[in-house]
Symmetry: C2
């Protein structure tokens, strides 16, 4: 005996999401049947709308409804600085600090030979094109503090520096409010290396 | 800065699913934008169809497109035995063994005072009604081997036995192919208690 077709199809759809296997998909599908009808309709509409209305900004690669995105269109922002991130969601995180006023560029990942991800798979060509055309003085690289993130930062730095543009990297060190006792060795090392005069 | 509305709404919908918090929902939403358009459309259609076309069988409480469900409508099945499960998905699991030929009844949960779930929250009244009207000779209780499942089995047994109907419980013991070394004490205890002559 098989599941009735409507639930079998829903399980199949849930299984296409990352990190969701057949057991979780089944649990989610049965949960869906017990959800309020309005919530299910909203969910379906949100899926369609997100796929239909969102695109990548043709300049920076951010997720946006309009092209170019709001940030690229905003002439009030500092046009001389580009902050490079791995994914669009990193932009939202950085914008929440209400401090950075420059532009962004989304790589859509990091260099990762294990996953077969080389420079041609990232938005690097479009970044170099921007550096040629725009009056950029500084590129801040904000890839994650992972081995792949570090390698990508080094790669970009070697590519960009010869053009006479300043390349910086976000500081690594202790989290604000954190306890030295619980910091890992690499973080402590970076904190000592990056020590500043007070 | 907020996420563009289409993605914010999708994140909100994903967060309504059990076990999915804001970080996972955000990851799933960004993943959705990169999915093939057909997959997203199928997903939305599957959500709508599952909610619209599936119902609980008015007799046994199983998930079904037609009411009564295929199993309740099948006069070839043994009408004198009802196997009681916690959830509809348990029926699929049991049907996969291609051995049981009787009917089913879905409780939609187990007695759980901690979660405020009493007898009136389960499909117990409809089970007792079936026992009055149908020619049932045996009720097999297949709730899970959890404290709540055991308590529910005992409760049902006390309720049904006085009507002169045989009440049985699925056997507990070692899994087939399993190693005694790795069995927990409760399972071993049940295996010894339920030992059979060979």
């Amino acid at each position: 005996m098989q599941y009735p077709e409507p639930i079998a199809k829903l399980i199949e759809s849930y299984m296409k999401l990352p990190g969701i296997g057949s057991k979780t998909a089944t649990r989610l599908a049965f949960f869906t049947i017990d959800m309020p009808a309005d919530d299910v309709t909203d969910f379906a509409k949100a899926l369609i709308a997100a796929k239909r209305d969102l695109h990548y900004c043709s300049i920076c690669g951010n997720i946006t409804e309009d092209d170019p995105c709001d940030i690229c269109q905003d002439r009030q922002r500092d046009q001389s600085t580009i902050l490079v991130v791995e994914y669009p969601k990193d932009i939202m995180t950085l914008e929440r600090m209400h401090e950075y006023q420059g532009l962004y560029h989304v790589l859509q990942g990091v260099l990762s030979p294990i996953d077969g991800k080389g420079p041609e798979d990232l938005n690097i060509a479009s970044l170099l094109k921007r550096l040629q055309n725009e009056a950029v003085k500084e590129v801040i690289i904000a890839t994650n503090a992972t081995p792949e993130g570090e390698a990508t930062a080094t790669y970009l730095s070697r590519l960009i520096k010869p053009a006479g543009i300043k390349v910086t990297r976000l500081a690594h060190g202790l989290s604000v409010g954190s306890d030295i006792e619980y910091a890992d060795e690499m973080t402590l090392l970076k904190a000592v290396e990056g020590r500043q005069e007070i």
